[in-house]
Structure formats: C-alpha cells, structure tokens
Symmetry: C2
Amino acid sequence: MKLGLFGYGTIGRGVYTLIEQLDKSYNCEIKKVFDLPIKKDLLGDKLVCDINDIINDNEIEAVVEVLGGHDVPYEVITKCLKSGKSVITANKEVVSNHLEEFINLAHENNASFCFEASAGGGIPVIRTLIDNIKVNDVNDIYGILNGTTNYILTRMDEDGLSFDEALKLAQKNGFAEANPTADLEGLDIVRKINILSSLAFKGNISNDDIYHYGITGVNKAILDNIKSLGYALKFVASSRKVGNDVTIRVEPTMVKLNHPFASIKNEFNAVLFTGSTNGDLMFYGKGAGSIPTATAIVSDLVSILENRSYIGYKNENKLVVNANSTNTYSYYIVGEDGKGKFRERVSDEELAEALFYARVLD
Amino acid sequence: MKLGLFGYGTIGRGVYTLIEQLDKSYNCEIKKVFDLPIKKDLLGDKLVCDINDIINDNEIEAVVEVLGGHDVPYEVITKCLKSGKSVITANKEVVSNHLEEFINLAHENNASFCFEASAGGGIPVIRTLIDNIKVNDVNDIYGILNGTTNYILTRMDEDGLSFDEALKLAQKNGFAEANPTADLEGLDIVRKINILSSLAFKGNISNDDIYHYGITGVNKAILDNIKSLGYALKFVASSRKVGNDVTIRVEPTMVKLNHPFASIKNEFNAVLFTGSTNGDLMFYGKGAGSIPTATAIVSDLVSILENRSYIGYKNENKLVVNANSTNTYSYYIVGEDGKGKFRERVSDEELAEALFYARVLD
C-alpha cells in the first residue's frame, strides 16, 4: 500500500521511522510527504509542497495527517476521504469538531478514518472504548489527559518547585510548548475528553459546552495543604451521562492517595471509565511525545492494512450537553486569605471568585 | 449469524444475556446450547447434550466455549475450527497449552479464534497486546492476574483478617472457588502470563517452565512488616525477554506504595507492559466474575461480526524459556524466626527453604 504523509515535524518523523520498521510482509511504503520547501534536504523527491499532489494521487490509498491546526487539516481530511483514501490523524482540534462528519464520510466512501492518537497519546484508549461500548454502556469517564500539566504538578510536588520553575523545566525537557496556554487552561484536555465522550455517549458535543478551569493558580502552599489532607492534586477531566444529560468538566481535582490516579506521574496519562457490565477499566501510559504518539498512529495503520479498522460509530442525536447547571460535586476552595475550605454544591459563579479551587473526587 | 454456546454455567449465562442485549442490527442469535440434561428447564429446545449437535450444524458459524477443563474443550475447539466455525473461548488452561495450534487452525480454515477472556477477565488486554506488538517490541510484562488472591491480600491488609478468614470471605462473596488451590498456588496465573508472554514474545511457552510460588504462607505479621517498610504485598507474575531468553516467575511481590500496582485492590487485575516505542502501558479492571468475563467474550463476538477479528500471530520459534537459572532479583526472605531480611541474587533452592518470601520490585 502506498501512503501519503502530511507533516514532517516531530510526530511526522516518528511516524516515518516506525513505518520503515514495519514487518516487510505489509508491503507498505510512504510515497509522498507534504511539508514546506525547507524539508527538501531531508525528504528529497518524496517532498511535495501542494496538498493536492497527495490528494489527487490515485496510487495513494491511505494518508497520515499530523500537521496541527484546523483549516488545512480539515481540508486534507475531507478531500482525502471523499477520494476514497483512508485517513489517520492525531489532530484533536479537528477531530473534536468534526468527528461525526469524518466517520460518515469514511463510511460513504468505503474508506477508514482512524484517530487513536488524538486522545491519550500512546494509550490505545479509543479503539478499546469503541469496542467496549458495543457491549457495555459507559456513563462515566475520568481522565488525566495532558502530559504537560501532569508533569508540572508532579515536579512541584516531588521537587518543591514553584509553578514557573516546573513549567520551565517542562519546556526544557520537551513536555511543554513555547506557548503553553492551551495546556495550562485545559483547552487541550477539553478536546480530548470531547472525543472520548462523543464516542462513549454516542452523540455530538461542542467544545464550548465543556467547563474548564486551569491550574495556573496553584502554588506550593496549596499543594502542601492538599497533601496534608491526604490527597494528591491532579488536572482531571470528568464526563458523566445521566439519562441524556451530559456534564463535562475539566478542573484541578483532589484524589485520595490510594486512588489509581494518585500514582500517575510526570508525562503519563490515564483514562478511567465505568461500564455497565464490566465496571471500572483504567488505562495508563505515555500521553505525549513523538514516538508514543507515532506508535498509536502506526497501530491505526496496521489495523487498516489488516482490514480491521472499521468503526461502527453512530450519533444517536439524543444528548443534552451541560444540562446540569447545578453542580453537585464537592470542592476545596481557597479564598483570598490563602486558606482552603471544603464545600458542597457550589455554583460555578462562586467557584469563579475563588483564588484557586479543586474538585474533590470521592 | 447463528451461534452455538458450549457451557451454561455462571459465565455461559452471562454470555447468553449479553448476546440477547446486543444491537439488533448484528442479527445474531444463539441457536444451540450444549450442557447437561438437567438444564432442559432453563434452555428448552435450545439444549443439546452431544457436542456434535453443534459441531456438525452447518448453519452455526461461530461458537463460544465456556466449559472449563481441558479434554472436551480441546476437542470442541479443534473440531469447530476444522469445520470452519469461529471460536471464542475463556479457557486459559486450553489456550495456554495449544495457542499456536488454534491460531494456525483458524487461519487454515478461514475462521477466527478469539480468547480475550482467557487472561485479564474483563480487561481488554489481549487484543491491545496483539495490536501493540506489531509496532512495538514488548520485552517486560508484569501482571496482577488473579482476582481471588488479590481479594484475599486486600482484605487481610485492610480488615486485619487472617489468611483463612480472608479466604472464607472470598469464597462467601463468590471470588474464590471451593477448591482454591490453583488460585492460591499461582497455577491460574501461570496459564494467564503464559498466554500474554507467548503473544508478546512470539513463541511457544510451556506452563511447566514457569516458576511459581504461592501465597498460602503469608500471615498478618508478615504483611504488617512489609507495610512498615513502605511496601504493599501483591501476587505478581513477571515475564522478561532478554535476547531470546525468557524468564517467567509468579511469586508474592513487594511493590512500593506509590507503584501503580499498590492501588489495585480486591478482585481487580492489572497488566503492565513495557514497549520499546511507547514505554509503560498499564491496564486495570475487573479480572473475574461472570459479567466482566462475558463482556470480553461478547466483545470478541462483535469483532467477528464486524470482520475485524484477525489475529496475525506467528510463532518465531526462537524462545529459550527459563534460560536464566541465576535469579538476579532482590528478595525479602522470612526465616524460621519469623523475621525478614532483604537479599539479592538468591537461588531458587535457597528461596525454597524460606518460611515465606516476596520478590522486591524496584
């Protein structure tokens, strides 16, 4: 099978390497790579600088999209699917906004659409979830879905670093981007929990309907207080469906020290979902990084090569997202005096006034 | 698709129920159930008491085998595969002894052979591992693979029960069999780690080449000592491949309190494997019980119904199992005086003389 690769950055290079290492019996080869002209030295004749050079190449049966951003990836994915090419992407922004459209396009054009790397990085959580919901009703999802922020919280906790010091260390070690806002404020997590929730709950969810509150307000004193109370602080996405009402929140969260999330350190991610038939299932692994992400992408590719990439997702059009305006969870709220108090059933308006707050997970 | 079910015990009934609840679009129906004549009241005309009534029924395209034991299941599985029927089984004894034969028979007869429920119960670890090793080299596997013994150790630790009290509680709550020897001595775990290791390392492994030492020697004083040293005691299977040399051991194991295994409680299981490309991956969920096991079985069935059940396993015939007779791990050894000492590079002969011992996991 001839392949096209869109994007030869950190992840694209990882994908290229892993595809070259695949078992030869798959008979699979990257024919063209789309990127900027400056990549000519690295890619030689494989480089193309017009997306249509791949889209219109009938010999190419599948493409990997790792460009980042929204508009060009959206154009690439829709055009490739319409031309009957299978598409693999790691792009959580595009997938969280257009999941149903992409899956329908794939079905209509007898192609595959795979996005394992778009949530949970190297953890094979998406295919597992898709498999699982055919037998199981999943109504609760919890996730530590961002490696950058989990790394920062771990280094603050274990090394006594300040928030700024931990952020700088994360950037130095390649776990945080130069502009880390999407990570720190939870926008990256919003997109990932959206993808997982849409699949689990079988409906469309808008990123705008997901509540999020970042971790920039955390400091060493708060972390120490939380620890002395017997909790670890994690940046957690929680998603719950009751009937057709869905509530999704991304917020700093206190978990007891014997909770499985308490042992998730550094750049690791974890996803916990509760199924009606088999109870709690948790997956834990590297949530970020070139090679873990590339592993998830090439795993998708292998499922296409072995003809087992089918995703029978259907939007059942029943969800009412963010219907529960009354928040029934417990919170630990730090006021202007720096002191924390446990409170229940706090409105989001009250939460907004806190110096910092964390949800308390039972 | 018409199905045959071999065995209408606890798991068989769970399978029956979940198949009846499957989406109607799968158009899937259990035509015949093999069991003893006394099940006539429950099963009516669906009951057959001769395995050949299912094996020779050409309308039946797939069967589920949940009989338990070895000889009849082996006959059922081989005959069904030879007649082109796909087979799903939860039988770790048969799978650990005949994995390669079953997969080859399935390939030769254009059928599927699925065994997700044979290790890790409701945790979808087998399919994930099979997917993963096509991209990743997995050389280390650690597992808490037996719900009964993990339940016993948890209740001893949390409720201060004696070993016998905890065992009785496990039996009362349906987590331990009337004859719990295979669980307590680690034989059940041997079979499961064999299946996972055979897949990961791509070769045949004999159950006889797996070292195992049970937990019957544990008492409250030992558990308290271990806890005071900052460890939790778990019954862990470890499997390591270095070059072509494979060492697999099932033994009581001390893990640090911040190790992910320390938070695996009661009947839950966990599997941790280390991949060359994506690092540590861990899966955690219910390892036993009728419905979690049935969920794994019906998940396999759905993969057959959706034509994505292919397992490209190949025995590469390179493994030398148990080649490392020198044990390089660290141990905590309790002598006749009831006191424990840390020791390194202890021979298995010396271990055999201990009142109780536990491996120390770094």
